[in-house]
Each structure stands twice: as structure tokens, then as C-alpha cells.
Symmetry: T
Subunit: 148 residues, 12 copies
């Protein structure tokens, strides 16, 4: 059976839908996960979605993905800008990874403009809200179709 | 019944009383928690005190406070200076938060002079040892009296 | 009739397909323009594609798009990092704009990590080669469907 | 008779109550001085309150306090961020000093985030409006009770 | 016959009147040119007004002015902050030049605070809207009256 | 009767006419004040001119102007570049202020290129010698004509 | 019985042997732990080896070592460069600590050249692969022989 | 027939001979072009010389040279220091390029000390006036003799 | 009669002898003034000694010295590092000035290492306590002997 | 016969044992050289030890080592932080080199934290006093055993 | 007899031909010196060639050249980037100096992009291997022909 | 017999009298040495004067002075700004040292404003030409009178 695509979300993304809706909208992370689930099924793919506020959990899941998944979509939230540990985990694996952000991080604080993940990602998509995830999944499925 | 005030302490504050007493004195974090408990009771308020060395625990408690507490007193210790994740959690909630530090952080290393939390706090109190917490509680109770 | 979507490409993108194929692949800009043309037609939309090595041409086309187009996809190439004039043109118009890059600019020189355009864009997509354009068109059509 | 506590306020604080009320409220500096006067009297203490727009006046009063006062509460306003002369005066005296600010200076311009006074203060309190002064007085009286 | 005064305007100033009216007002660049024309005529002077979105056009006109004009009024727009080529053109000529800006550039983004032109200008006027041009013309006519 | 316009000059401007004439010319500050007096009278306006080497005096006069004047022309001299106190005073008042400099400060030392006043001014005029003041007065009278 | 020496390894070191073998070789962390165990036994010492991807776990173990161990060997991985919390834990204990790295961190990214741990360590050893640990153990045993 | 060598000169170099002769001398660009023409003829080579004040023209000519020339001598003038677009054009071609400057750019403003072109050039020659071009031609002919 | 030498001391120097004696010793400023008085008399010279905590007083005295004195010895204290106004006053006069400091300012905080006065002084003497003044007087008398 | 290992020590290390013993202890450099001599002999190896205060001597010995030695242990002292010439010499040779420091350079001045040598070394050992050399020798002998 | 031209080469250039041939080729410094000797002889000139790894030797030779030579060609190697002493020696003499580098220093480490020598040189030539020296000699002979 | 005072002069000071006389005058270093010799003799003291262009020579002499001299006067020339080795030598000795410079180094290039020696010196004297040495000698003799 085909390996799943891991969809990893970092700190505070569990609040999606309630937190700062003027920036992030009212869609919840569960809504996104369900959409991704259905979207993946269309091409016979599957997703495994995780969220945590712990930096170490993200490191663990990335390592696990290296063995069990065929690709990663990651929105590491605030850890995007501070975690070398997550970047190290990514550089230790050999599967494609796409970095997504709901908001356009370049319209926000200066310290959100640098990402430790971007140089290790296949591509970066930001600013499209929940659609950032869906666009990433579509691209990743196309990209990994031949490996499953 | 009135919502409690969350009192959150970050990494290494569990060592209070044993660690570097020339900077922090001999009062333990338990001593502080008991004092806050009694101080809150005087005005019919209550506190819920937590400490963790985990960045993610602090994120979780701040999110929880957003739903269950009427205010937060936080001494995020070293995470004050490095955690955008904690700052994001704070910016996602709508209750007043006061930042405290036992020592005067401006007398210490350069990298302790910047706080990701301060721009999101109602106020900042530092340098009064355990009293920093008590002053914050007094201010927070006065400030939130009408909301309970 | 519906307004077209402007697709603007900046300096050296006319060389696409011949220049540094290890980074950019062998698809030409004409190939991309044709693909976009067909892709737009599927939803009854149209694209108007331009390329120039002149900073001022891009300023002109952005101004023109403000009056005649319903959205812009722009890959400003090197001007992304140096042109305040292009950014000013964008901030003078009221239609959505998506910034795209073929390569993952965060894997390249430090001076390619800053974009004057990103803070003014709805979203940013980079690293997917020619697909970056196609993903942008899909997102823009969805986004502007109700305005045509 | 016990030595007084000096309460020193710097440039533009004489405008308090009229200037930018959305930041500073409508309480005047005289109101604050009267409150401090009454608050001190409760514990048999006294305050001596001064305000000036002149950097040198603040230097003079700090020197004078070194000889005549048992503590200082200072809100040096804009000189907080620019005056090494005031910092030198503080470092030349041996009585406790608490730095206060009405607003949360960390929510304002970058150049207000650095204070020449903080490293020399016993503690720092900011963001509580006029209460910042009152909290400082309470802390200073407790701290200096045994010296009077 | 007296040499004219060149009035040069840079990128996006052709949009004046339509673009960001909350910053720039509704006067068009043509309105300004007509006003300058009439204003110059009062003292028997004349103006030659040009606008371009091309950096090189401004370089060309400055070189031409060196031979044909008795002074320059320039609002180089975004090129003010990025163009060493325009600065070089100015330093190659011997006639007085006044730099103007419609808005107060010091109230805008940090990168608009530096001008390559200012060190080469006789004077700088900014923040008076269209009047910035008129004040410059008045000053330049007075200054060059004896040379015509 | 109409409120006057305050004309404030900072440190060392009392030396005008004797100091570094190759930069500043031989006109004295008194000459300028007389010219402004007569210029104002033409439109039924009046000026009140002050000079001091004391930072605090300028703060005091700006505060006073807030109550008694209809506008301010200020050449804060060296304090332009160092005084947050003066900037705070300006931000506490609601009347228009124009910043002037005799010399083109952008042709001088790097540390003269930043002004704490500029972001708070209606406009900035520099490099026209004594005429900088006169141009400012003309602009301010036109601007405030309807308020007197 | 003698206190053990704690050997602490941070994020991604559990992957040792599989991850980027061209940098780190094929020895696993278990191999290293077994080697250290046998090496310690030769002098009647013992080691207690831990690894975690969680910053807080490392803080906890360092605190625990302060009470139960006679020395620490730490390879904090990516947290070396970002964790003030770990540094604070180290500064709260009184036993010798040696910092080790498998690779020569000075040949890698700029952000790996700074360590929050180094100023608090007795010594630093890097670049010798697994031997970095063994050299540290030898030095630490010699250094603490008299304390057991 | 042998491919020519392109000799490209950037903004303001058309003024050579009239502009700032104390730095650049009285030789015109035409003089230089004629000298290069004759010098090339000696070895059976030819030059094609272009000058423009437009950044985009230089991009175009570099692209054209990639197809039609056997080498490039470029003095990009002010664009040397600001144009990533020109650098991108250079990195897209496979023929040798020598960067020249008339003056010693290291004796001039700080912002002229960095060149986007130098890292892409075979060599750099500056400070020899018109001879900088001639030395470059000699070196380029020797270097490309075998390719014609 | 010969013009006197002005000896100017800035903020907090009035505390000399009481303040931080471990850095500055127990000699008072009066002691220094008397020593200078007698030292000057030996060569038929005279000194006029002033101290103030006001920046503006120092500006005034420097201006006055320009007209009445034959040289200046200045220890501007904290204003050394912050006052462009004092530097401007110095640059407006034509008599020699020697900068002195009691302590070796290069052994103190980083922000004391820069002086706005040094580039305008004939020479700088620091680190010799009260003798710094005496050495300066000796040098200044020798230097100005022929002008009296 | 086997090639020796060069042990090179830089400026002021000849003072070892007398200079700042609180940092460096009382062991002399001769003591260290003798210890290394005996340590090497145990495995049939030999050392050749040199010290100089001259940067150029170290360059010479490194070049010589490239031809005659099988490895280098270097403590370049102050030149560690300033000498590109020494770094160039190291990069010109093909034998392993270990950088050692007696003290933990990360506990000292900021300017001692950067080493031009580290990126070129096999490994770095610091903070173990004379033992830093012995640990390096042991590692180097093990590493080069097969080459002798 | 005509004064010779000094050709000075700095640290590690004695290794030329053996060291990093992929950057520097196989020509030795002796080869270069012989070529220069013969090249100079063609025009009746002579060269005196020196190389040293000692900064002070280069200072001495430059001083000597000031008295005995008619020009200098210098490749100061690593001292180019660190030696103010060499720059001071150059600024103390009055003969023309050309700076050369074998490699294109702008393609190498950032710290090799700044030269203390360039602002004092007549011209700079880099990137042509040994030919950099020969081009410099040709230029220097032409330049100094009239002085011999 | 009393220990001598070492007078050490660094690179290019041997040229004194011939080099850049507009900055340094025509007095030679020998003249200065003779003056110091006679000046010392007046109080029964002696000087030992050395000059070298070699950094290492200065290190050697400072070490030697630590054992044989009672004080040092040093003008390290260009090494003042670059040599940590010289600073280390100074910090290894226990005799007073005065830093002198002929010119006012604060009027020269930015890179001459920092001295590695100043924080280790008793005092600094600069700007008095040869007299800087004589003033230092006088101060050092007074300071060390009781130690001889």
C-alpha cells in the first residue's frame, strides 16, 4: 500500500478558527485535515495529520516521516523562525517537503520573514489561508505519484 | 464562580531557592505559590499555578487560560527571550497578562534584554524577587475585579 | 467580456529553457505562456503575458493592469529584490497579485531572500518551476471568479 | 524625622492629562503627586515630587536625593533613552531607585526599548498608568522601612 | 532666450491624482505642470516638464539639462532611494538642482529615508504636496535669475 | 486677535553670522527674525521668535506653542538628531510644524541625516540658508490662514 | 557508591548512523553509549546516557544531574545554538560539564558557530566524531576522580 | 568569421571626456571605442561597442553576446553596484567577461566598493583610465584566441 | 591683560571626591580648580573654571570662550558621548581645546568609547585622574604662549 | 623513519607558567613539550615543538610541516583570531591539524570567539589547560597511525 | 641608472605552484620573477623581486622602495585584508603602486573582499593568474617611463 | 640601579620626520629618543628606546619589559588597531603602561578609533606630536618614582 503524506502543524495552529480570525479566518484545523483527507483519496493517496505545540513532537514526526511517509507538508508556525532542531530533522530525511503558511508572513513582523525550513523545502506557499495546504497537497501528490 | 488567575512559570524556576541564591534568594516556587494563593483568597479570587521546563506546556496553559482564566501572570524564564510560540499563544487570547521577572533582567546578559512577551503584556514588573509576582497579582485583581 | 489576468515576467526570464537548466529546467517562457493560455480558457478566463528586461516596462504594465486586468501574476526576477518602483506601482492598484518564482529563492544568495513585492502580494509561491505559475493562476481564478 | 522619598518626573510629564490621553489617560501629574503624598502618609513616610523638562534638573535632584532622600522613584520620560548624565548621577548615589513608566514602553518605538536607567535600578515597573508610581512607592516603602 | 528649468518626475508619478489619494491628494501631474508653466511665465521663465517610469530616461534628461537648462527640479520617486546612476548623472552637471517630494518621506518606510540625490542637491523640500514643486520653482528662479 | 507663529531655533544658532560663514553665511539670527516679522505682517500674521542652547527650553516653548500659537517653525540644530524629549513635546500638540535647516544636512556628517522631528513635521525644508525659514513661514501662513 | 556521569544528547542524535553519514559516520548513538559504559567501567565509574528531541527533557536531566551526577557530557545538538533554558539549567548546577560535538561545527552554517553552552562548560571538544564523547569522558573521569 | 568581442559601457559613460575630468580625463568614449577597434584588428579580432543609460539595454546586450560574441568587456558604471539583473544575465552565458572601471572605485564612496559583477567575472581591472579597457581587451584576446 | 584659559567640567563632576572613589579618588573639583589656578599663575596665565550639569551651560561657556579665552580644557563627562550641540559649539570657535577624562574611558562601558569632542580637539588625555587636567593645562599654556 | 608531529604555539605562550596563572596555571611550555615528547614516544611517534611571537614564523613552520610532518597541533594564541596568513598556510597543506587552546576561549572577550583556523582543522579542543595538547596528540596519533 | 621596480609578494606565495593548483595553477613564484625580469629588460627596466611571510618584511621593503624604486607591484596575499601597517607604509611613499592578485578575490571568502591597499593603489588587477603581475608591470613601465 | 622605562614604537615610526610631515612634523624618532633620554636623566631615570616594523618584536620587548623595566610608553602605530598579540603581552605583565599617539587618531580613519591597548593602559595621550611621548614620560616617572 502507498505511503501516506504527513501533514504537520506546529504551535497554536490547534486554535485555528478561534484565534485572530481577521488574519486566519474561521476554518478549523480539523476542517483542513478533513479536506486534505478527501482530496488525497481522489488520487488514491492518504494523509496523516498531526499538530503539536511541542518543538520535539515535530522533530519526532519528521523523523518518523522519513521512514514511513512519501512526503511532508509542514506549517511549523512559530518554530519556523526559531527551530534549528526541526531543520536538522528535515535535512536528515530524503523525502520531499513543502512549507506552507496560512498568512503572508512577509506582511507581518520582521522576525517572521526568516525561515530555517525554506532552504530545505522543495517549495514554499504562503498567504492563501487553508488553500495553502491544499495547493501543497496537489503539488506533492503530482510530484510523488511515481514513488508510491 | 469566578475564573481563576493563572500563574505560569517557565524553565528552571522549579529550582528557585536552590539555584544561584545570590541572584534569586532562598524562597522556593512553592512558597510563592502559597503566598499567591492566600493573597488571592483575601479578595475572593483564586490562582492556578503551573511550572514547566517545556516551551509547549506554557503554550498549552496559555491557550487553556484563554478559555478558563480571567488573567495571567507569567514568568517565562529563558523562553521570554526565545519563544515566538509563547508570544503567539498570548496574542491569540483576550485576557490581561502581566509579565514578571524575579531579577532585574536589564542587569544581566544582553540577550536577556529583549522579551517577545513584553509588547503583548499589559505591564511588566521586574527586579523585586518574589514580590514581583505579588505586585502583579494585586494589579491584576484590581484590573479584573469587575469581570469575575 | 471578462478582464484578463496579466502575467508579468522580468529580466532574463526570456532565456528560460536555455539558461542554467540545472536550476530552471528546459521549459521556455513561451511554453509557460501557452500552458497558462489553455489553463485560463478552461474557466472562460484569459491571460495577457508580457516579459521585459526593463524595470520601467514592468512598472508600466502593472499600472495598465490596474485599469484593464482583474489580477496579476508576477515573477519580477532580479527586480524582485531591488525595485521600489515596481513595489510602488503595485501599491497603487487595487487588484489581487500573486508573486511567483521558479526556483526556491531561499536556497540561493542571501540578497535573493528579500522581496519588495511580497508584503504587497496576496500570496507567494516559489520552488515549483513552471508549475509555480500554474498554481498561481488556479488560485487567482478561484479568487477572482466573482469579479469578472 | 524620616527622610523623604523623591519622586522625579522628566520631560513632557507636566502635560499629563492633556497629552495623548488615549495612551496616558486624564489623570494629571498633580493628581499623582497628591495620591503619592497621601499614600506615603499612611506609613508615616513622605514624598518630595519634582518635574522638569531639563535634563540637568534631573541630574541635580538625583544628586540632592543622594544626600537627603531614602529612595527615588523616577520616570525620566524621553531622557530614559538618551541620558548617560542621569545614569551617572544615579550610579553616584547609594539609595534604592525604582524606574517607572506609565505606558508599556515595549509597545512603542524601538528607540524606547532601551533604558540607561534600568541597569542601575532596583526594579522596573511599566504599563500600569498612574498605578506604576503607586506600586513603586509601596515597594520602596517596604524596602526602606528599616532605614528611616 | 533664457534657458528653461527642467522639471523631472520619476516612476508612478504619472498616476498622481488616482493613486493612494489619502497620501497624495487628487491633483494630477498635468495640473502641476500647468501650474509650474504659469508660475514660471510670471518671471519670464519657462519650464520643461518630463515624467518617466524608466531610470535611464531620467539619466538622459539630467544629462540633457546639463547642456540646455539653467536648473532642475526633480522628484525621482522610488529611484530616489535606489539609483546611483541618477546620482552620477547629477554629479556630472553644473546647474543647481532642487529635490522635492510630495509626501513627507520620513513618515514612510525606513528604506525611503535615504536619498542618493540629497547630498548633490542645493536643497530639499518635502511634505507639501504639489506645493513642494512650486516652492522649489520659486527658489530656483530666484537663485538662477542672474544666469538666464 | 490671531495667534502668532512660533519660530524656534536651537543650540548655536545664536552664533549665526559669525560661525562657519562658509557654510552658514553672514546673516544673523536677528536679521532672520526681523525678516520673518515683516513677512508675517504682510498677511496680518505675527511671529514670536525664540532661541536657546537648552534642550529643555525648546521643550517648554513647544508646549507653550501648543496652547498659544497656530503653528511652529523649528530649526532644532543639534537637538534635531538627539532629542526624543523635543519630539515628544511635538507629538503632544496639535498645531502644524515645519522643520527647517539652513544647510543641506544630507551633505554633512552621517549622524546629521537622522531627525527625530521629521516624522512629526508637516514638511521639511533644508539647504536654502535663511530662506529656509522664509519658505516655511509662507507655507505655514497659507496652511493656517483659515484657523486664525 | 560513586555518582554516575550523565551523558546527554539532544535532538536528532537518535538518528546517528543513518542521518547524513558523510558528516556523521555510521556509528549509532547506542554504539556510543555502550562504548562509554565500558570505558567508564575501566576506572570504576559509570555513565547514565539519555537522548531526547525535547528541549525541556534536557533541562530536566541537567537539573537532575545537579543532584545525582558527578559530571555531565553534553551534545545538545541544535539546542546548543538556541536554548537559553538549557544554559540556565547548566548555570544552576555545580558539577563539571564538557560540551562535545561530533562534527566540526565551525565548518558548517554560521548559526552553528555560537553556543550558549560553551561559556558555561569546563571545556569544548568538537570534530572527532564518536571519539569526541570518549575524549570528554576520559577528561571528566580524570577531573572528577577525587570527588566520587 | 570570428565572433566579435562585445564592449559594453553603462550609464553616464557617454559623458566621458566632459564629466568630472579631474577623475576621468578628457578622452571620450568614442576615442576608446576607436582605440579598441584598431587594437582588436591587430590580431584579426573585432569589437562591437555599445553604451546605454538603461539597465535593460545592458541585460539585452549581454544576452545577445552569449549567442554572438566570444567575450565581453564591461564597465557597467553605477549599475555595477545595484543591478542583480545584469549579474543574472552574465551568469546565464558561457563566455569570458572582464570587468573594468576607469577610476579606482576603492578610492570613492563606500557604496561603490561592492560589485555584483565581480564574482562572475574572469578578472577585474580598475584605476587605469581608458587603459583599463585596453588591458582587458589584450587579456581577453589572448584568452579567447583559440576559440574564434 | 592675557586672556584666561577656560576649564569646563560637565555633569556629575561636582560630586568628585564623594562619588565612586574607587574610580575617581578623593580629590574634589574645587581642589583641582585651585591647583590649576596656582599652576597657571606660575607662567603668568589664569584659568576660569566652570561646572554644570546642564548641556546648554556648556554650550554657552564654549561660545563665550570663543570670544574671551585663549584656550579650553574640557571634561564634558557624560555629554562627551551624547552631545552634538557641544561639538557644534566647539567647531564654531577658533581657539585650541584639549579633551580630558579622569578615568580611562576605554576601560568602561562600550558607549563611553565614542566622543563627539575628540575629532575637534587638539589632543586627548585620559586616565591620569586629576593630573589629566594639569597635563592639559601645561600643554595648552605651552601651545598658546605666543598668543596671549 | 616516521614523520614527526609538529606542535606549534603562538605569541605569549612562551610566558606560560608566569603569565596570568589564575587562567593558565603554572605549567610551563617546556613542561608541556617534554610531556608531549614522552607521550609520543610511547607509540613510537615523535614531536617537534616550536613557539614564536612572530606570525610569519608560524606560517613558515606550517609550510614546513606540510612537507615534513604527518600532522600538526596548533595553539596560535592571539593570531588565532587575526591571521588570515596562518589560515592560508594551513589550507595549502594536506595533513591533519588539531586546534587547541589552554583556556575556554568562549569565556573570554568576544573577539576571541572567532577563529580563522577552526574551519580548517580536523577538530578543536579547548579549556583543558595543558591537557588540551595531550588530548590532541592522542587523537592525532590514532588518526595518523596508518600513515607513518 | 634607472631605478628598479619592486615586486613584492606576501605570505604563502612562496608555495605557488604546489598549493591549491586548482585555484592558482602550477607556475611557481620563481617562474613569475624570471618572466618579469625578462619583460622589464625589453624596455631597459629592471625588477627587484621579494617574497616574505612576515608582515614586517613587507613594511620594510615598501619603505625601502620609497627611496630606491620607481614603482611597486604588490600582491600582499593575506596581509591585503588585515595589515594597516602595510597600508601606512604605502601611504608614506610617493611612487606609484599597483595591487595584483592571482585569483579573483571576489569569488572567495567575504573577508577577502576588503583590501587596505586598494584605496592607496593607482590601480588594481585581479583574476588573471601570473598574468596579473605581467599586466601590472606593463602598466607601471608605461606610467613611469618618463621618470627613470 | 633603577630599572629603565621602555619606550616602544611600532611600524613606520622609523620614518618619522620624512613621512607625511603635514600630519607628523619633521622631528625624527631619534630626536624623540634623545629628548626622552635627557628628560629621564633629570630625575635619575633612564629610558630604553626600541622601534620595529614587526609585530612580534613588540611582543618580545613587552615581555622583556615585564622582567626588566619599571614602566612602558608605547606607540604601537598601526598594530594598535589590529594586534591582540600585543595586547596579550601587555596583560601578562604587571608594570604601568601609557599609550601615546603623535596625531589625534580620532580625526583619522574610523578603523584607527579602536585600540586593543587602551583598556590595558594606565592612561592614553594623543594629538600632541612628539610631546605626547614627553608628557607620558613625565607622568610615568611621577607614577613609578617610589618603585625604582
Amino acid at each position: 500500500m502507498a505511503k501516506p503524506i504527513f501533514v504537520l502543524s506546529g504551535p497554536n495552529l490547534n486554535l485555528l478558527g478561534s484565534r485572530e480570525p481577521e488574519i486566519y479566518g474561521t476554518t478549523t484545523l480539523d476542517d483542513i485535515h478533513q479536506h486534505l483527507d478527501q482530496q488525497a483519496a481522489l488520487s488514491g493517496d492518504s494523509v496523516a495529520c498531526y499538530q503539536s505545540n511541542m518543538e520535539g513532537d515535530l522533530v519526532n514526526w519528521i523523523q518518523k516521516a522519513g521512514a514511513e511517509a512519501k512526503g511532508i507538508i509542514i506549517n511549523a508556525g512559530a518554530y519556523t523562525h526559531t527551530s534549528i532542531a526541526i531543520a536538522d530533522a528535515i535535512s536528515s530525511i530524503d523525502i520531499p517537503l513543502i512549507e506552507v503558511h496560512l498568512s503572508n508572513i512577509y506582511q507581518r513582523e520582521e522576525y517572521r520573514h526568516h525561515s530555517y525550513i525554506s532552504p530545505l523545502a522543495k517549495g514554499v506557499i504562503c498567504g492563501f489561508g487553508a488553500k495553502s495546504y491544499y495547493m501543497a497537497l496537489e503539488a506533492l501528490i503530482a510530484d510523488t505519484a511515481s514513488f508510491s
